[in-house]
């Protein structure tokens, strides 16, 4: 900066009077006679402003029809907390066991579940959600449901452009949530249930 900028140390208490770790912020409230003329400072400022014309544009032309083009559509990286989806087990059934832990963890109270005993041909668990609804308009996208899920059944995708015509369309039911995962190609859970179908955990192999 200019010489006037550095003169700021001359005002107020000298650096020696200040306790250690405390610093006088540089700056000088007095204007020099050149600065009082105003025009040289205007020229200096405008000179800098005009340089910005030739810089790369920071904003992007948002176009959600062209989602693969980073110049048109911002795609968040993995780990972004966007729209939810429900995962599936290997048989293609919903992975959820209707334990209600996501509903309990939700600070916005937007998850509604009704549990039911599984059909007889599902042999890997006892319960599944007959109804699983997330009110996307109440949801605050904090990710606590994903954090609370003990079976890796619910997760948040990176979809963030959440638009609908009606309020009802933003209450996602079980099938809609499963379809979201299918459309994104990430719906199969990586974690399997215990192979013998008994609820609970298998003995852990890792020593810890």
């Amino acid at each position: 900066m200019s010489a006037a900028h550095d003169e700021g140390h001359g005002h107020g208490p000298a650096a020696a009077e200040l306790p250690p770790g405390v610093k006088l912020a540089p700056g000088d409230p007095e204007q020099t006679w050149v600065e009082k003329l105003y025009l040289p400072e205007v020229a200096r400022g405008l000179n800098n402003t005009f340089k910005h014309i030739f810089r790369k544009k920071f904003t992007i032309d948002y176009d959600q029809t062209d989602r693969d083009n980073p110049a048109k559509f911002h795609r968040p990286r993995e780990g972004y907390r966007g729209e939810h989806y429900l995962k599936k087990d290997e048989d293609g059934h919903v992975k959820c066991v209707a334990c209600f832990m996501c509903a309990a963890a939700c600070p916005a109270e937007c998850i509604h579940i009704e549990a039911e005993a599984t059909p007889t041909d599902w042999n890997n668990r006892e319960r599944y959600p007959r109804r699983f609804e997330i009110d996307m308009l109440r949801c605050i996208y904090c990710g606590m449901c994903e954090e609370a899920c003990p079976v890796d059944a619910i997760a948040l995708s990176t979809t963030y452009n959440l638009v609908a015509d009606t309020r009802e369309a933003k209450v996602y039911d079980r099938d809609k949530l499963m379809k979201t995962g299918e459309d994104l190609g990430i719906s199969l859970s990586k974690h399997k249930y215990r192979p013998d179908g008994v609820p609970g955990a298998v003995p852990h192999k890792k020593a810890h």
């Binding site: 204007q31 309990a104 963890a105 916005a108 990710g143 890796d152 852990h204």
Partner: protein, 409 residues
């Protein structure tokens, strides 16, 4: 238009004639662009001079403190995001520290360093926008646009780390909800390399600008005694010459291991607050660089799984971890602090952000009281604007960086 030699104002404008010599009531806000949120000032003006100013808050009342009584300690983090929406990470971290004081647990070194880095980046985002808006309120529009570009770059980092740009909800009691991505250091260092150039540019545009200086130097000055007696903290206090910074006065996290200066000015006016904020940003860059150099490896969360969730991989396969997981999440079980009450404060960008938590030993807090810095800073606003010009009130308000969200709670 031709002017006559003498105009009888009683004939030309009978209503205006009544106002001569008396004051008129005027509203600034609640929807004035310079009020930074919905905030109303009842002004009594005589001509352009403010005779009396009466701030009225409550237009953005959201009941955060009452909501705190119905959310458990982990769930309340999402509410702290929304209290100060200009620096949500500082609020997250401040609340997490208060909870950890209550529970009597410590966070491992890596978790502490990460919190310091994110808190300082959030301080940069807050100060840079605050300075930009201060310039915008005084008519300098370009500087505001450039500062918003820097904030977007910071939000890109927050998005990569926390999964959200604004409503970060990053901390949990005893740590953070996930470790940072592998390229975290590259992201932050890439940002830090270019950021000081913006500060130089803002200084070039504003620091010696005659219009900016005429509008700020000597405007709305507070004395040291006034600031201290009103409980003012943060850059507004430091601009009056009191070197009080919670990071220095009562070090939390790993601030005692890091070298930084507390910038002060002695004038106490709007220009001094601007200078203090600019220097604080340079100090924050220094802190983040040191913290990145020293960033240790290891766990980010407390290993006490009575309070923090066990790793997800363990929950899927290990019965004991699943039990811990269940006990923490489900209401009625939950994490239970001892019956106690604590006050804990951290240095948020606007000043001392305090949380006073009363616990009755159940999973839900009995009472969470937030001490927002904006509330105490705004209390001095009538004092600052008394007998000043109306246009100076706008300059003064933007230099206080009032956030209506935390003001009303």
């Amino acid at each position: 238009m031709a002017t006559t030699e003498s105009v009888d104002i009683r004939k030309v404008a009978p209503n205006a004639a009544k106002a001569v010599g008396s004051t008129i009531q005027m509203n600034l806000g609640p929807q004035h662009p310079a009020t930074h949120g919905t905030l109303r000032f009842k002004l009594e003006v005589s001509g352009e001079t403010i005779v009396k100013c009466d701030p009225e808050i409550g237009f953005l009342h959201t009941g955060f403190e009452k909501l705190g009584e119905y959310r458990n300690y982990n769930q309340f983090v999402v509410i702290t995001d929304r209290a100060n929406y200009l620096s949500p990470l500082n609020n997250n971290i401040g609340f997490a520290i208060a909870c950890e004081d209550l529970f009597g647990i410590t966070v491992p070194p890596r978790g502490q360093y990460l919190r310091v880095i994110m808190a300082e980046l959030s301080r940069l985002a807050d100060h840079v926008v605050s300075v930009g808006l201060q310039a915008m309120d005084l008519g300098a529009f370009s500087a505001m646009l450039w500062t918003f570009i820097e904030r977007e770059k910071l939000y890109d980092i927050f998005e990569a780390v926390t999964g959200a740009r604004l409503t970060t909800s990053w901390t949990r009691v005893g740590g953070i909800f996930r470790d940072v991505p592998a390229d975290f250091e590259t992201l932050v260092r890439g940002f830090l390399a270019k950021f000081p150039a913006l500060l130089d540019e803002i200084e070039l545009m504003l620091s010696r600008n005659k219009i900016f200086m005429d509008r700020t130097v000597g405007v709305s000055a507070l004395t040291k005694e006034q600031a201290v007696s009103y409980g003012v903290t943060g850059p507004v206090l430091r601009a009056t010459g009191v070197p009080y910074d919670v990071r220095r006065a009562k070090p939390y996290l790993c601030y005692s291991d890091l070298k930084f200066d507390v910038p002060i000015r002695n004038e106490g006016d709007v220009y001094a607050r601007y200078l203090v904020r600019m220097e604080e940003m340079r100090q924050s860059v220094r802190i983040v660089e040191q913290a990145l150099d020293k960033l240790p490896d290891g766990p980010v969360n407390s290993v006490d799984h009575k309070v923090t969730l066990p790793p997800k991989e363990m929950v899927y396969w290990d019965m004991e971890s699943l039990i811990h997981h269940f006990k923490i999440v489900m209401p009625g079980h939950g994490i239970k602090p001892p019956q106690n009450e604590i006050y804990s404060s951290t240095e948020a960008p606007n000043g001392e952000l305090g949380f006073y938590i009363v616990s009755d030993g159940t999973g839900l807090p009995y009472r969470i009281r937030i001490r927002p810095p904006s509330f105490y800073n705004l209390a001095t606003f009538p004092l600052q604007t008394q007998n000043g010009l109306l246009s100076d009130a706008v300059a003064s308000l933007s230099s206080l960086n009032i956030i209506a969200g935390e003001l009303d709670r």
